[in-house]
Symmetry: none
Subunit: 431 residues, 2 copies
Amino acid sequence: VSDSPRGRLRAAVIAVGDELLYGATVDTNGAWMGTQLAEHGIPVVERRVVADEGDAIASSLAAALAVADLVILCGGLGPTPDDRTREAVANQLGLAMTTDPALVDMLKDRFRAFGHANLPRNNLKQALVPARAEVMENPRGSAPGLLLSVPDDPSKYVALLPGVPREMKGIFVEELLPRLRRLFTDRMLPVAHRWIHTTGIAESVLSERLQPLLPDDLGGVSLAFLPKLTGVDLRLTVRDEPDGDVARDALDRVERLLAPAVDKYRFESKSGDLVDALAARLGARRLTLAVAESCTGGLIAKRITDRPGASSYFEGGLVAYSDEVKIAQLGVEPDLLARSGAVSEGVALAMARGARAHFGVGATIAVTGIAGPDGGSEAKPVGTVWYAATVGGHERALHRRFPGDRDAIRVRSAQAALNLLYRLLGDDGTP
Amino acid sequence: VSDSPRGRLRAAVIAVGDELLYGATVDTNGAWMGTQLAEHGIPVVERRVVADEGDAIASSLAAALAVADLVILCGGLGPTPDDRTREAVANQLGLAMTTDPALVDMLKDRFRAFGHANLPRNNLKQALVPARAEVMENPRGSAPGLLLSVPDDPSKYVALLPGVPREMKGIFVEELLPRLRRLFTDRMLPVAHRWIHTTGIAESVLSERLQPLLPDDLGGVSLAFLPKLTGVDLRLTVRDEPDGDVARDALDRVERLLAPAVDKYRFESKSGDLVDALAARLGARRLTLAVAESCTGGLIAKRITDRPGASSYFEGGLVAYSDEVKIAQLGVEPDLLARSGAVSEGVALAMARGARAHFGVGATIAVTGIAGPDGGSEAKPVGTVWYAATVGGHERALHRRFPGDRDAIRVRSAQAALNLLYRLLGDDGTP
């Protein structure tokens, strides 16, 4: 069933772990790798989850090598006795296990740096690798990645990655992808993408508005809708076009067709995170930012400070969860709270103004709402949220009733509030 | 490889869908079914994700039937041409496809209820099922579940479920599980679990300390380590013990053996979230809580308010990201900041005291550290974090150097700070 050595590269992914089979852990690695591989022109033809058992790992590797040229095994590289991936792969491929002295040193350094005098005996096992395996460094953990070619068919490769998502992703991007590019350039399908990030419009509404704008034939460009709680990403793709200029022109054409429906909701951000788009607009005006949060309870401040470099514009935030804190720290009038309730236009604006005074900043965001599951009423059901933003003398408040559970309402509220300030700042950095 | 008809039931799960392989959708169904099946004594021995292709579905079904007695296929039951699961299963098992008149009526009723005069032609396909398949009703969608025994080996069963999670879960719980219980009572393995949540100790260290405490034979109890950034969960499992009292005694015995190594790091929480354990201790003492965060940037407040009911004890928090805010809002002395730096014992304690004054609460948490990637120095490398807690007149500060990237350092810092207050409150709710 296998392609010829010169054919298109095809991948299979095997996630190893009892806890994945039993459902204690959701396998998010598989989807992430599927996206990455597809974007780099390597289709995934099969994915499996198998137990921490040598036989299961070995037989699934054999089956995967029958349909794929690259098999990635993920998980089971840890120091405990139920981590069996390295050994099972070596057995299946007929390779001996050898201790890699460079890995022993690396592990010792790692444990010393974190204040352990000695390397635990268990961790020594992590330096035992199949013969001829190339080590891919893992600066985020103790399990390195490994890459080896299949002795019976050296055109095929097996990669071993740790199961911890951030370790896996680091090795995948920094170590594995560059090697795949070197090994397989001519066997990877050329793929050109363009991402258009939107927020504040539902997938179904966006899709309806786009329909009359788009001809049936998009000139070799395919369009995917990728909805998230924070917005809808549109991904334009041109496959199998080796000329980069031709691909770019085709993407430009479709992007222009989409513009009338999309531009009002679009934001520019390489990472896809609205926080980065907002930071760029604040930076262009040299504005500092502070936030006042009630129902989002710190989520907006967390999202802002998730991004390295936030300290260049972010002063701080106040989580005003109780009415007392809204009154004492943000200067919200007790009368206003009694008259309009905490979830109201007046309180949202008073919180945003209060944050400006409290932190002495140029721009503020405030949110007050009912995230549930309790606290809703007929007039203000769960999901009702008021949010406000100020920039200098300009200010604006909006309200929405967001669908979903507590978590979804909080995520949507935080995004809507960030977006309000983003729009208030305007394309050219002026409100 | 298969068990005898009287042996223990083993399951395999096949998720069907291009969008799962390419990563546009994360397969959460597999983990959910894994948990459900494991809890009902049906171990899942393999899980796969395959493309919407007849051949891939058929060959993975054949392979799964070689290792499992029950194969659940999930997805590909919709009305569009790329929904191919029904037909591929019928082909593989050598069954004809027949139109089920009861299903036609059901589909017509459903579409009428939603205001459509006619059943779309595409949806008629959903009434075409493999001969002898038992229909499992789906009140939440148009794709019914199907259950059939394998003609060549009637002791084996194949179930087809839709891929939409809430439809799949409804059919699984309401239709499939009762049928499995009827068909396989004596072949389902009784399983008893106990979870022990720990935080503040590394998996490798915990594992080393447990080794001398545990005999090789744990009396039928198996022990699994489930590490997360926030701690290590231990899961004790007794399988194949039909007497619940005997299983409980065996779990109690192992729990007592673990205690000397575990108790110092253990917390009691049904959800597994330390925030709930802390909330219980604060509630027992009727203490209110506020937080002051620098490097965690709102993450602690977010975690606290993630949990419904936080307003019963949580007043609010201050994200003091800049030195100016630490001075102006928390009363940290400028001299102290200049002398010791923002990441120091003195500043962590001053922030925790400042939060107590600022919010007028009984208990506080404060964190200041270097989350990176920039801002580290030789004396205070990235990952250096000071955190403090106060309860009434009691206070304590600790520091750590946490491994990992910015995100991991923030998650670990937040957990360590929550844990410091949890330990300060003591088992009986007193510091």
